[in-house]
């Protein structure tokens, strides 16, 4: 039993020590994300083949020196498709998070600084939006507007707004209750000025942490939509789409395409969520230290 107590005490010590820096794992995770971004940017330079070059004489080739990760059911080079696929697979969640963070933060600040009924109504909207699953909203949008990358990204961006707005609002409301801000309100400082000069910098670390965490979720949701055939459309290269196209090969024993595309998603999502957790740890540390 005493081991439980000691373990708990040690955990507490470790937590405070760890939260100071990014740690080795944090640096590795950042490097992994950096590499993925680099692969996406340099895809035309480093990809050995054209990702859409079909050759029905070379379908389902295993890993060989001339095709490092093998070829898919249409004879396209899997490595080249992975590198080009990094573009849509990273750009999509980046746009989702950017739109959701900007709109979400703006709405959260309006709610926090207005207070009263504006805050109550906005909070209710955030709560309802939070309950509506993002994937379902995207499926609904796609069914009306037709499948495609842009529709999926925009629908998810809207669905992610409450995810960021809710937590930013609660931090901003906490900040508003601090004496220096109530003093500014009392001396008649304009609301937009308070929001821009004082609230925004105060919520920025939270926005950053929550956006990073959202990036991982958005990546999985977008890949899921492409997997369902509702997001990125063939013949474009995308990791989620590669898994669904690779499933036909899997049943015949050709595991390469689905496995490598899946691995790419898992590695990037794991790295991003690790960074997100570290950022979130720092935010709560700041808040306690204040």
């Amino acid at each position: 039993m005493t081991t439980v107590v000691f373990e708990a005490l040690r955990m507490r010590r470790r937590r405070t020590r760890r939260s100071r820096g990014f740690g080795v794992t944090g640096i590795v995770a950042t490097a992994v994300v950096g590499l993925a971004v680099l692969a996406a940017l340099l895809a035309p330079v480093i990809a050995p083949y054209d990702p859409n070059e079909v050759d029905f004489g070379l379908t389902y080739r295993p890993m060989e020196p001339w095709a490092l990760l093998g070829t898919d059911g249409s004879g396209r080079d899997i490595l080249s498709r992975l590198l080009y696929g990094a573009r849509t697979s990273l750009l999509g969640p980046a746009v989702v998070v950017l739109v959701a963070a900007v709109v979400g933060t703006l709405l959260a600040l309006v709610a926090a600084i207005s207070g009263g009924w504006v805050d109550r109504i906005l909070s209710r909207i955030f709560d309802i939006g939070f309950a509506f699953p993002g994937l379902l909203l995207a499926i609904l949008a796609v069914s009306v507007l037709g499948p495609g990358f842009t529709t999926a990204v925009l629908a998810l961006a809207i669905a992610y707004i409450p995810f960021i707005a809710r937590i930013v609002r609660s931090v901003a409301v906490g900040e508003m209750s601090l004496p220096y801000l109530s003093a500014l309100v009392t001396v008649g400082q304009s609301r937009t000025r308070i929001a821009g000069r004082h609230l925004l910098p105060a919520v920025m670390p939270t926005v950053l942490a929550q956006s990073t965490i959202s990036f991982g979720y958005a990546m999985v949701d977008l890949a899921a939509l492409s997997f369902l055939g509702l997001g990125v459309q063939p013949p474009d290269a995308d990791w989620g789409l590669m898994i669904s196209e690779g499933q036909r090969g899997v049943l015949q024993g050709y595991w390469e395409e689905a496995t490598f595309a899946g691995l790419a998603i898992v590695i990037v999502v794991a790295a991003v969520s690790l960074i997100g957790d570290r950022l979130a740890d720092r935010v709560s540390l700041n808040r306690e230290g204040r």
Binding site: M1, V5, L135, G229, I265
Partner: protein, 316 residues
């Protein structure tokens, strides 16, 4: 307490009302007029077109249409499917069994294995605890469709232990067929539940009252059972309940990956075929399930844990 429950129920109803408005209103985002969108590139007889006008109340003003549609839904009339030429309700019926079994099976796995491993990780020595923790940090990053292709590749095609597709016949055969889908569905959320359980119990184990119990020399079993598990597992119950909502939405993807004939697979198919009546009905059904689950979790948490009541200022 009754007041709290009444408020929560009203809030849930409000969420459902707004969701139904979204689901109904989505039709009007379609380019062109709703009728031509509903017809799509099909050629329909005059009677079929008249039936569509009737089903969506297209001759009425917008708000009246919504209310009329909602009234139809509440009285059990979910409309007709254009592609299947059948009532949506009778399409959903048989498929609902597959989806319900999938989600129920997944929930059992999460409660038994997720919470169980979380307890083990919290109470065991460092080495085992670290192994479980490392496993979960990879597990949470594995989406269901990635797990699905790997599981099919290894256990269905490679080893031949499990079938790759289909729902099976009879109860036990169904469970056998659903095992790989359930693993794919629960890998990420189950890993998350393990982590939360471990963290909650660790926190509980560090409390002064536990230290005092150790100092008094109480047996280990009593300390774990009465002081750590009893207090520490109530927040876990909430997390498990909320995990159920992600299982409901996640089943859409898993059913497609394993070609199961559930309502999620029907939804994907209906979207591809632009069968909007079916899309609306399934979206509404899934949202209703999510809202009900969240409502139940909220109420249960307040009923079983007096500390939550106190924190939220609810009179018993």
């Amino acid at each position: 307490m009754p007041r709290f429950i009444a408020i929560r129920v009203l809030e849930g109803l409000a969420t459902l009302l707004v969701s139904s408005f979204l689901i109904f209103g989505a039709l009007y985002l379609a380019p062109g007029d709703p009728l031509s969108y509903l017809i799509g590139n099909r050629t329909l007889s005059d009677e079929a077109i008249a039936a569509l006008r009737e089903q969506y109340h297209l001759d009425d003003p917008f708000l009246v249409r919504w209310v009329a549609w909602l009234g139809d839904v509440l009285s059990g009339d979910l409309g007709r499917s254009i592609t299947y030429r059948d009532d949506v309700l009778s399409l959903l019926g048989p498929r609902l069994a597959t989806t319900t079994l999938l989600i129920a099976y997944a929930l059992v796995v999460i409660v038994v294995i997720g919470v169980g491993l979380g307890i083990v990780a919290a109470l065991s020595r460092r080495a085992l605890s670290d192994v479980i923790l490392a496993g979960t940090s990879i597990g949470v990053a594995i989406p269901s469709f990635v797990a699905a292709s790997t599981l099919i590749s290894v256990f269905a095609v490679g080893l031949g232990w499990f079938p790759a597709f289909g729902p099976g016949d009879g109860f036990f055969d169904r469970l056998y067929h659903l095992t790989l889908p359930v693993i794919a569905l629960t890998l990420a959320s189950g890993s998350y539940v393990i982590r939360v359980t471990r963290a909650a119990l660790r926190e509980e184990a560090a409390r002064d009252q536990v230290k005092a119990a150790v100092a008094r020399g109480l047996p280990r079993g009593t300390i774990i059972g009465r002081h750590i598990l009893r207090n520490g597992l109530t927040p876990v119950a909430t997390v498990v309940g909320l995990t159920l909502t992600s299982l409901i939405v996640g089943s859409v993807v898993v059913e497609r990956a394993f070609a199961l004939d559930g309502i999620g697979a029907l939804l994907t198919e209906a979207v591809a075929k632009k069968d909007f009546g079916v899309v609306q009905a399934i979206c509404l059904l899934l949202i209703t399930a999510v809202v009900i689950v969240v409502l139940i979790v909220d109420v249960i948490q307040v009923v079983i844990d007096p500390r939550v009541r106190e924190r939220q200022g609810i009179a018993a």
